[in-house]
Symmetry: C2
Subunit: 470 residues, 2 copies
């Protein structure tokens, strides 16, 4: 008997969380074992409240709205649409799944709900199970990060214990890149690309005036410095010194001031990249410094703000130099206009693979990928490598050489509630740079450019729930 599939999205958005959703819907529509495809709104919270969207019907309706069939031949495809065409889609489907894949931030909505332990209190799980049964759900796919994989893991175990024929599969997602069990997380590559590209653009700004100038840029990542590490990709291509401070190392104000002074001897302009989550040697978050009473800037004003603002003050305390601190803020995780091709394609395929795993009955698994060692694929071309890259590539070796991935599955138990940090051995001895090993890991992940579709000069996006109108 055919069963229905239910998919939901959870946790903080990424620019490509919908690429995974797009992959899920695209694949599930081809699976004979799957009847209806339901999307729960606002994550697991929407499962409790049974806020479901019938995605097959919805997708077909939206396809017609966005790309009317009668004009099929004239539907222009984005590069990601071309990718889907190769995968056997019609032009209309390719255009639609491409637009969805390049829509930032959970198209189904999200939540931040962590379930209790079923051993202590099974009531939430009983409730979820009864919803699954009522809707004939045979497959539940949860797209999310650490907490979401915990939910998926508990749920898969509970279903198994109860002897229910329900397969729960996790689909990874996080800009923080801190999931275990996977080489790198979907969403990270696009954020890293946005950060690395934006830093090179900001560097242009930093250089225009003939004055000493320290520009401080703050990246997300409270518990892991992966996004800040992306600044190393700019540093190797850029023309001024970069000082990079990751959450993984304890931060010393005195050392920082010395680092800046030294860098300013080399160059009039300096870029500083900093994780929002850096802490001093007492384990105190730097961003809390500015929150204290009586903390004044050089002009006697009270200050607040994130780690970047605190670093700015540390510089002004010690030297007279133009400084500015910039926060990428939410922009670094929703920039649908600058996506990593590698990231979008991998995210899509991880979603599609999750459907395959579900149909195969791989309960309690997370759709994953591993990087092949260079020996395994020395003649292989990176999925993210642009054919059009015919220019000089500067200092670094060709970024995508030797990069290829292999799709796999890992048990959710190995992923849930873990946090993968940057190995300390990847951080330079100076404490403000990254070793070649880190760069070799990072370079392929930002390769290739995809942009969302534009109409009338503005991005076109897809959502599965309508808000109360304007």
């Amino acid at each position: 008997m055919k069963k229905n599939l239910l998919v939901a999205q959870s946790g903080g958005p990424t620019a490509v969380i919908n690429a995974s959703l797009s992959g899920v819907i695209w694949k599930a529509m081809q699976e004979e074992k799957i009847d209806k495809i339901y999307g729960a709104q606002h994550g697991i919270a929407g499962v409790f409240s049974e806020e479901f969207v019938e995605l097959k019907a919805c997708a077909k309706k939206q396809m017609e709205e966005h790309f009317p069939k009668k004009e099929e031949e004239s539907i222009l495809l984005s590069p990601f649409g071309d990718f889907l065409l190769v995968k056997g889609s019609t032009r209309q489907e390719a255009a639609y799944f491409s637009r969805l894949a390049q829509t930032p931030a959970a198209a189904l909505g999200s939540c931040r709900l962590k379930l209790k332990n079923p051993q202590e209190d099974p009531r939430e799980f009983q409730e979820l199970l009864s919803v699954f049964k009522a809707w004939n759900i045979g497959y539940f796919l949860y797209i999310g990060g650490n907490d979401s994989m915990d939910t998926a893991w508990k749920l898969s175990a509970y279903c198994k214990e109860q002897g229910e024929d329900i397969v729960v599969v996790g689909v990874p997602k996080t800009i923080d890149n801190d999931l275990e069990g996977i080489d790198h997380c979907p969403g990270f590559g696009s954020s890293a690309k946005y950060i690395a590209a934006s830093l090179l653009e900001l560097e242009r700004e930093c250089l225009v005036y003939d004055t000493k100038y320290v520009m401080i840029v703050e990246m997300m990542g409270r518990n892991a410095g992966w996004l800040t590490a992306a600044a190393a990709l700019s540093a190797e291509k850029g023309s001024i010194p970069y000082l990079i401070y990751l959450e993984e190392q304890s931060f010393s104000k005195e050392q920082f001031q010395k680092d800046v002074e030294k860098a300013l001897q080399q160059s009039d302009q300096v870029m500083v990249a900093v994780s929002e989550g850096i802490k001093d040697s007492n384990g105190k978050f730097l961003y809390t410094y500015g929150r204290e009473e009586g903390n004044k800037d050089a002009f006697g004003h009270s200050i607040a703000g994130g780690a970047g603002g605190v670093l700015e003050q540390m510089i002004l305390e010690k030297m007279s130099v133009k400084t500015r601190s910039i926060e990428f803020n939410l922009l670094q995780r929703c920039a649908g206009h600058l996506l990593s091709k590698t990231d979008v394609e991998e995210s899509f395929l991880l979603g599609a693979q999750a459907v395959e795993l579900a149909v195969l009955g791989e309960n309690g698994k997370m759709s994953s990928l591993r990087r092949k060692l260079s020996g395994e694929n020395s003649f292989e071309k990176s999925s993210g490598q642009k054919d059009s890259e015919n220019s000089n590539t500067g200092k670094s070796p060709k970024a995508g050489i030797g990069y290829a991935v292999e799709y796999s599955a890992v048990p959710l138990s190995e992923v849930a509630n873990q946090e993968k940090k940057i190995p300390l051995s990847w951080i330079g001895k100076d404490g403000h740079s990254l070793e070649e090993e880190a760069l070799a890991y990072l370079r392929p992940l930002i390769l290739g450019e995809y942009s969302c579709d534009f109409v009338d000069g503005l991005p076109q996006y897809i959502s599965f729930f309508e808000k109360s109108g304007k």
Copy 2:
């Protein structure tokens, strides 16, 4: 006798100030009357110190470095390269001038130097004139905003008074769009596009959680609200209410709190767009509120920051709702990865036209453009209109219909030291929206997408001065 041309860039950077520079070099290389093309580093300051780059030689050298001639046939062109090919460039030239045109922030460096009045103190002008003579400069082109047009104007008048055969021409540039004598300023369109697109992306973020959420975004423009007005382009395409507060109107805290409360009755999520330069009815800048001693946030913390942060506090004072304030900061003027096609092409052509004006002896003019009235060109296609726009366009009429420009020249005296603000009649009676007249003005300016060149996943840019190395 052939004379040399000198070009310099001044004031705050834009994402397309180098498109104008690219147009200047491209055109000057074709002009028989022009011998050498010099670029002064760091604006007029670099003229005083004679920090000149020989741009013809430099461009040819950089062409070979970036796009080796032997590979000419295989040089892949960005869409802007295609545009240049049509203008009669070789593939190598097209690729090079395209890359330069899409490099953000003054490739020659900039300055913020305002000259004294020559009637009061002619010494600076005497010095500039003697530099011009020493270098056989017959044409001086200054790319910049209000202050720069003032410099160009004074200099053109001084040269004329002294009976010198030196032609000074201004090339407009500013993201603030506050120059008189031109329909809209080069640089504005790209910033407006970045802002409008980013707001639609941030709106996706705003929508994902099932909670009340007010997102506040602060735009540049201390003395004019044009950039903030670009939020109206998002508002008409978006799916939640936008409250838009421009510098042109005095701001009332009480009215703002009422506006937010009302908007939250319509929708759980609300976007607020605000000019950094908004002032209260006493003419006091809002961003100075946070700089005062004793100003505390809802948690008793001292607060600081821009106008956005101050609005955030005003909301929290009155209601319990999730808020976040985001500053586009420098990102809104250096995003080479998301340019308005209309803006890049117009900026390039304004630079090229400035060379023509100079050669024609049009001393004291600024290269300009005016928008043709729709009657004048009802069958004409916008320069920025994408052929590929085959999708539904939503609520608004086709954005580029009836848009066409005509290049012209205006006396610098009519431009210098003026400030063009948004007409109050363009602001809605509710004080937080824009009228159709404003939208009709804005829509064509963001049309079409150009992105910088990417290699190894990162932007490739061109600069004419090397910094002390890393």
